[in-house]
């Protein structure tokens, strides 16, 4: 009897693939037709063996980078490395693709100063750097931000009613730290490991917050580097979380997977749960949402005003200070505050007020939580 699963089929339009018979072994790989399939791809429903899947995954990242002209030949690419699954897979895949792309890689890890958590993660990054023979540079919040570690920030915000927003504070500072680290190693481009699920969560959160400015900016595969910032991109943006994790599994990659000691961003958790339920009913929901954001265009009246430059560091800012400088300023004055979307007040009394919209250079609240 011929298994129906041995026939190549595209299930792109079928939200409910037929359930396999529990008595039957896994079907054959739809690509090589030799090995037993090891997974069903979330987007297409295609069943592939581990080897064919990893090859397809790498080819798709290559296509994302080439088609989007994200990393030109000769680029020196700083990979934001956290030791977690996404940045581990990103670094591994780019290392495989580097000769074909004509790029060179530098790992940049950020030490946020989170006792008992970041040390173990950095150890994982060091192991990766050694195994893959990639240069690694670690930049620390404490060195970059006048002694502020994330532990100190958390203590400072504990009584201020902002203790739940550790992730948001950390996101702003990490973005800045990665930029500084990338400049330090002479990088021309910065890449981060955000995957499709991260991006879809962000789109959903921005919708739910009514944050049109971020929604419109969140599309695309990265930013071209406005206001003197290095160009940034997310080569895994079209890869689902499931596939990132399975790629790491089949390639036997060693990554760090402990929860940060600070409470994760609660709102993102709700967005994630909702997305998981949507995905169960419609496997393409995640990617569809990412594409939706890409195609979105704001009506002229809804567009945020063009950004200016931060009075302190020169980065793009929609107010007098960019978010990182405003945050550090607040911390140093003992009034830790941060603008998240609307309702930002009291941060920059001494500067010319612009529209209370967050600046394009730093999307912390809507930046996915995963470190890189």
């Amino acid at each position: 009897m011929v298994s129906i699963f041995s026939l190549p089929r595209i299930r792109r339009s079928l939200p409910f693939p037929p359930r396999p018979d529990p008595e039957m072994p896994a079907p054959q790989c739809a690509s090589c037709n030799k090995a037993r399939a090891a997974l069903r791809r979330p987007r297409s429903g295609q069943a592939l063996c581990g080897t064919c899947f990893c090859a397809a995954f790498e080819a798709e990242v290559l296509h994302t980078v080439v088609a989007g002209r994200l990393l030109p030949p000769g680029a020196v690419v700083a990979v934001g490395a956290s030791g977690g699954k996404d940045s581990t897979v990103l670094a591994h895949v780019l290392r495989e693709l580097a000769p074909r792309l004509g790029i060179s890689l530098r790992l940049v890890a950020v030490d946020e100063g989170i006792g008992g958590y970041r040390d173990a993660a950095l150890a994982a990054v060091r192991r990766q750097a050694a195994r893959w023979e990639l240069p690694l540079t670690v930049v620390a919040y404490a060195d970059l931000f006048g002694g502020w570690t994330m532990d100190a920030v958390a203590r400072s915000t504990a009584g201020s009613g902002r203790s739940r927003s550790c992730c948001t504070f950390c996101g702003v500072l990490r973005r800045r730290a990665l930029e500084e680290g990338a400049r330090l190693v002479g990088a021309t481009h910065v890449v981060t490991g955000h995957n499709a699920d991260d991006m879809a969560e962000t789109v959903l959160m921005n919708f739910l917050r009514g944050d049109a400015g971020r929604l419109a900016r969140g599309g695309g595969l990265g930013s071209p580097g406005e206001g003197g910032a290095l160009p940034r991109c997310r080569p895994l943006q079209l890869a689902s979380q499931k596939e990132v994790v399975l790629y790491a599994h089949f390639r036997r990659l060693d990554y760090f997977s402990e929860e940060c000691v600070y409470a994760p961003e609660a709102f993102r958790g709700h967005a994630r749960d909702l997305l998981k339920r949507l995905e169960a009913a419609r496997p393409s929901a995640v990617l569809d949402l990412v594409h939706s954001a890409e195609r979105l265009a704001l009506a002229p009246a809804a567009r945020p005003p063009p950004p200016g430059a931060c009075a302190r560091c020169g980065a793009l800012a929609s107010r007098a200070l960019c978010q990182a400088c405003a945050l550090l300023d607040g911390l140093n004055r003992g009034r830790p505050r941060l603008a998240i979307g609307k309702g930002r007040r009291g941060l920059d009394e001494d500067g010319p007020p612009r529209e209370a919209e967050p600046e394009p250079s730093g999307p912390p609240a809507s930046e996915p939580v995963p470190a890189f």
């Binding site: 529990p22 896994a26 069903r40 581990g50 979380q241 994790v245 749960d273």
Partner: protein, 112 residues
């Protein structure tokens, strides 16, 4: 492989020896222990993933069960591999366990 047939007349499935493994951060709910060699007692019904999950919840899960199990299945975002193959190819909860199977649960929900 396969259930011992000598016991067939008792209308009982023989005990199964299977390897249960947790990864990607899921092990944190199991005292940080990744690999568990377990023996599932003989029972009338054949063992499937559905009742393996009940067994795991009762015998292995140490904390915050809602982070691992939701309803009668795993929490969305936890991948299940049966002998290194995606359970979606094998009937998911209805897959019938064989002696010496290895079942791997990987969380995709931890860090990045």
């Amino acid at each position: 492989m396969g259930v011992s047939c000598e016991l067939g007349f008792l209308n009982m499935a023989a005990p199964l020896s299977v390897e249960v493994e947790f990864g990607g951060g899921a092990e944190l709910l199991f005292d940080g222990v990744k690999k568990h060699q377990v023996t599932l007692p003989g029972q009338e019904e054949p063992w499937d993933i559905r009742n393996l999950l009940v067994w795991i919840k009762k015998n292995l899960l140490k904390e915050r069960p809602e982070l691992f199990i939701q309803g009668d299945s795993v929490r969305p975002g936890i991948l299940v591999l049966i002998n290194d193959a995606d359970w979606e190819l094998l009937g998911e909860l209805d897959y019938q366990l064989q002696d010496q199977d290895s079942i791997l649960f990987i969380s995709t929900l931890h860090g990045g």
